[in-house]
């Protein structure tokens, strides 16, 4: 039986996690302290450690939440029948929803626990798997020329990561996805575009 205490406990844990995500969104992982998280949820500092053994344990859960939110949204927004054009739109929309978090994750990855990197790579593998399926659909329909799926996925991931990592340079004070997403998408599509017959 799930008692009220368990429910409260789960609710507090969720509150802490959400506060952590909000602070990381605002100022990154490095500048987010457990003290500030406690202040934001209105609990004593010690309460954080009732729910997460260490700061690292909380950081890992924040990273997991960023990753599962992406794969989750992607699962709901895209379909197995999507071609590249639709898949790239869905992926960009999902990135747009949490671009500050993805940017912080990429920028600070080397200073986060090792499992953070494993989550990022797992998330990217999920993107790659879907992109590969979408490419195959376009190839089968004669809309794209045959191209190595992993290579195209890695080009896309490298491209989007580069813009997310340097969003302060590519789009200071605004969304880098809104400003450059459409151009990045056209660049990727151009790579697999079929050569049109010249007269």
């Amino acid at each position: 039986m799930v008692g009220i205490r368990d429910e409260q406990r789960a609710a507090t844990r969720q509150q802490i996690l959400r506060a952590g995500l909000e602070l990381v969104r605002q100022s990154g992982f490095g500048k987010t302290t457990t003290g500030e998280i406690a202040k934001l949820v209105g609990k004593a500092h010690g309460t954080i450690f009732v729910h997460f053994a260490t700061r690292d344990a909380l950081v890992i859960e924040i990273v997991k939440a960023i990753g599962s939110s992406l794969t989750d949204h992607l699962a709901r927004m895209s379909s197995d029948s999507f071609g590249l054009d639709q898949f790239l739109d869905a992926h960009l929309a999902v990135l747009r929803e949490a671009e500050e978090l993805h940017s912080a994750l990429l920028q600070e990855m080397s200073r986060l626990p090792a499992s953070a990197r494993a989550y990022v790579m797992a998330m990217q593998s999920g993107v790659s798997a879907r992109l590969g399926r979408a490419l195959q659909i376009d190839i089968d329909k004669g809309l794209a020329r045959p191209f190595d799926k992993v290579a195209l996925a890695n080009i896309w991931i490298a491209l989007t990561n580069h813009y997310l990592l340097n969003r302060d340079l590519f789009a200071p004070g605004e969304s880098v996805i809104v400003r450059h997403g459409a151009a990045l998408k056209s660049q990727l599509l151009a790579i697999v575009e079929k050569e049109t017959a010249h007269v």
Binding site: L21, S69, H73, S115, R117, Y119, S125, G126, A151
Partner: protein
């Protein structure tokens, strides 16, 4: 960020949407069809590490031994595998 998630595998964290994603095609299963057998029982840790590593290799071209290390690191943070050590190289 939304709070409503589709269920994710308790072993590897993979989101499970279609019936095929769930072990044994059973929507009540706690694990995905990669990590568990058709009865919903988790496969041995080393097997699951190898299968997850293979996913990294196939989709991103990561070096196999590096992929094994990544998969092991990832799985060890999941409740299903806390404290498990792998002997895979």
């Amino acid at each position: 960020m939304s709070d409503t998630h589709c269920p994710s595998c308790g072993s590897c964290g993979f989101p499970m949407e279609s019936e095929d994603d769930f072990a044994g095609g059973n929507r009540e299963a706690a694990y995905c069809s990669t990590c568990a057998d058709s009865n919903g029982h988790l496969k041995p840790f080393d097997t699951v590490v190898a299968l997850n590593a293979d996913y990294f290799v196939r989709h991103q071209g990561i070096d196999l031994s590096a992929a094994v290390e990544l998969a092991r690191t990832l799985l060890q943070t999941m409740p299903a595998w806390a404290g498990n050590q792998s002997t895979l190289q």
